[in-house]
Symmetry: C2
Subunit: 565 residues, 2 copies
Amino acid sequence: MSSYYEETSISTEVDTFIDSFLQAHDKRIEDLRNMPKQATEAIWHPFMQHSERNENNVVAMESAYGDYFQTYTKQKDASQASGEAKTSLLQPAFDASASWWTQGLGHGNPQLALTAAHAAGKYGHVMFAGAVHEPALTLAQTLIQRMDNPRLSKVFYTDNGSTGMEVAVKMALRAASKRHGWSPEDNVEILGLIGSYHGDTMGTMDCSEPSIFNKKVEWYQGRGHWLDFPQVKLRDGQWIVEPPKSMHKAVGKTRTFNSLEEIFDLEARRADWGRYRSYLDAELWHLRQQGHKFGALIMEPVILGAGGMMFADPLFQRCLVDAVRGIDPNMDNARAMDAQGADKDWQGMPVIFDEVFTGLYRLGRFDAAGFLGTDPDIVVNAKLLTGGLLPLCTTTASEAIFEAFLSADKSDALLHGHSYTAHAIGCSVANESLSTMASISQNEDWEGFRKDWKAPALAEGHRDSTPWSMWSKSFVETVSRKPNVESVFAIGSVFAMSLKDPAGSGYASTAATGLRDRLFNGGQSGEPVIHSRVLGNVLYLMGAMTSTPETLKGVEETVLRALDV
Amino acid sequence: MSSYYEETSISTEVDTFIDSFLQAHDKRIEDLRNMPKQATEAIWHPFMQHSERNENNVVAMESAYGDYFQTYTKQKDASQASGEAKTSLLQPAFDASASWWTQGLGHGNPQLALTAAHAAGKYGHVMFAGAVHEPALTLAQTLIQRMDNPRLSKVFYTDNGSTGMEVAVKMALRAASKRHGWSPEDNVEILGLIGSYHGDTMGTMDCSEPSIFNKKVEWYQGRGHWLDFPQVKLRDGQWIVEPPKSMHKAVGKTRTFNSLEEIFDLEARRADWGRYRSYLDAELWHLRQQGHKFGALIMEPVILGAGGMMFADPLFQRCLVDAVRGIDPNMDNARAMDAQGADKDWQGMPVIFDEVFTGLYRLGRFDAAGFLGTDPDIVVNAKLLTGGLLPLCTTTASEAIFEAFLSADKSDALLHGHSYTAHAIGCSVANESLSTMASISQNEDWEGFRKDWKAPALAEGHRDSTPWSMWSKSFVETVSRKPNVESVFAIGSVFAMSLKDPAGSGYASTAATGLRDRLFNGGQSGEPVIHSRVLGNVLYLMGAMTSTPETLKGVEETVLRALDV
């Protein structure tokens, strides 16, 4: 036996094999080392000022699994080569932006990969005009049923949040223009909130007020009016609702609350309800007096994402919907909801909820609309829809909106549809994701998260809209007391902290980038590495639905240490 | 042994199994039968007037493989039940729209399914901002190398043709505005061709002249000037180039050619070249005199797809590029190309080629720009990019365009990027598709197609731009002589026929729908069934790159019979 091994081990076949094995390994390492530089030559990156790009600050993603990337950066490689402790060339990094808010079930999820492969083998992509296949039908039915919104009845498919919002806007403008007899010359506008963001296409950019994102786009022309709004924050351990200065006279100054739950108990906040409605009714009256014609109210419910991670007072958003619909402001919550539910047609103007970021378990429940206790006429979903694998978007509309496009004339139809509309892989993966996320929402980990956040029990029936977070209450409170932190919030999988920025906040701020870099580069000392994204002076952390309490706890500890540096 | 089978076959286990098997089968049939009706309840279809939709005209796609759907329609089910020959509930139907122009490698392609599964397992989706992964890098490098256009150097990823064109427009407008010092108030416009179509989003709709697609979109406002152009047609067996009436005075009337090849021999058409340039130079001079400021020339090279399947004279398109670039009109082709190649910067205005439909082997070669012998500054690719599996789009730009966004200010960057930008599955599948299509382009089937179309050999070096089609020359000529056919054309995988329409052509025409319905419903008599799409009075047929000569021949025979009904 040993002579066999001795002989074999000196044979040329083995040498050849070992050589080719080592060469393949060297090639793989070499490719990885070259990737950042090659990327700077061939790639135009999204959302990046390329004068700042170089081979040291492009991260090569070798692979990814669960909550972690396997990353390679030239910078770390160099510092290792210069004599620091040599570990692996690859660095696992916690994906703290959930890969731009897409990850529901973690990277490389085997079940999603199998589902994708099955649909690819059974259908590839099949044309969707005038046709239907099982995955697209099942997904449409599931969304309509699970959103539990009696208005919604029809699902339109596109490829991403931007195109889904384009469709939503086209739907709403047609419905409103048809009812009111408006023509294009009437300059129909959007009503929205300041700081909103609804996509990168020029049509969706026109739905937001001028900002860093759109003001230098040559064809941008904001078409609407945008209201400021009170924000929910945790500052120095105290939950507050902070109206902007411009609203102080009408609704009062900052108010404190005992818990996040208390802020979401809309019915109990009758005084705020009345103040908000008085303010909003007057605002709308003035806007109409000025001749504004609104074709839609568009809002991201609860959290305004890309515009800077702002937590809107859910009661204010609810009151805005009631106001545009002309709901009697003296009605209590239950009767107001009944009044809205009874008539499935839109009132005042179509209400679009952009749930591309906030929907589908991101905030701990199926939809974000439920937190407001109101039923939008159009809802847009994407990102988590496919659990984090590939692009797909749904725009779900009410029957009344759908009917506005019916006529004997083909040219009255919604003439919109991308080539891969309702692609079978996307729909199949979405069905698998939604059912898996539904199970997760009942599992022990999530029970634990909810228990951690439980405030004194609210009245029956509020259970579903009680807010909670995957990030621990103690972590959130501790961060809120840090001297360099202005305020924080957490809900569902999202945690965000605004860092104090002497130069004034905004997207161009650099207050948070120092912390981001410390979190990513701290790994030399064996510290777990965190790959995070910032929006101006806000650094956020976002788990996948599958992130475990242990993983999140490790991330929390790392962040707390980095904040103390 | 036989007693074993006898005993076993009467056991209750077997009965139970058979029952459950039959129940599962019945359920599957029942689900299939219910799908069209359920689709009318839950789905909002693309590009459809829903007042015409009912459970009889929605096609259920049970699955798909290769060139065929497995289709179920209520209508056929009912006609079978009423006593006609009972075959299968499912009907194989040739996918003659290549599933809205997406199919490169056929439905359910096993290699693409495996590639998708591998990427899903290795990465899922990984965030692309400031990052890179191997599939995205390889795809960018491949596109830049294979397009063989010395201007192109940077690839930007989005999800579909509409968003890719949005990016192209943002790029061009910025570059032009920066060089000329234009501000948004300068009302910068697009120069294009009448009948062009560049996407469904509102920004890309603004790039086309008013048409059925956009004129009822409330926010549409065409921002540009669109030129009419001479079209290539085969009528009664004769290839012609037919200028619109408005151009007769300047460029003459319809001219005849011995072959399609002759039309594409641009250098040999010196007289046309001179006439086109005189006409275009004068047009551009007038437009500039009127104060138009153009931020981009946008064209679909050779074939204008969604706008109605129009075959543009490639020489006219080439001359338009030369004209906006101010190339000396007396230069011969070779020197003109040299002159353009020497300066990689854009001249006059950035030139965008929308190759979403025409690119990547659709017309028989890697790109369609090569037919014109010119180098655009920006090229957009999608559809065939992923071989027909899932959405992905690339916008490839020149270094000069890229540099227009460089500054010390982040807000000058191209602030665009969708969540699933450069998703690993899409990029991996695209790499696999491009390399497979490259092999196919050298295989025996394609050699046969080329041989069928070979006209007398052209001068050396023209080989690559010689036009040919997967549809047989004899079929194309035969159809062109049918009394109900106005004209036809074929190039690459595309065949299109304009049917005579007494009521005048256009998207709302119904001249072709009768033929479409005959092709789809003819299957009762055992005739192969064809699922086709029409654009106004145009019915087109489109193969995948993998469609065999035998399959296409069968389709041709069916179409010829249907035309004679």
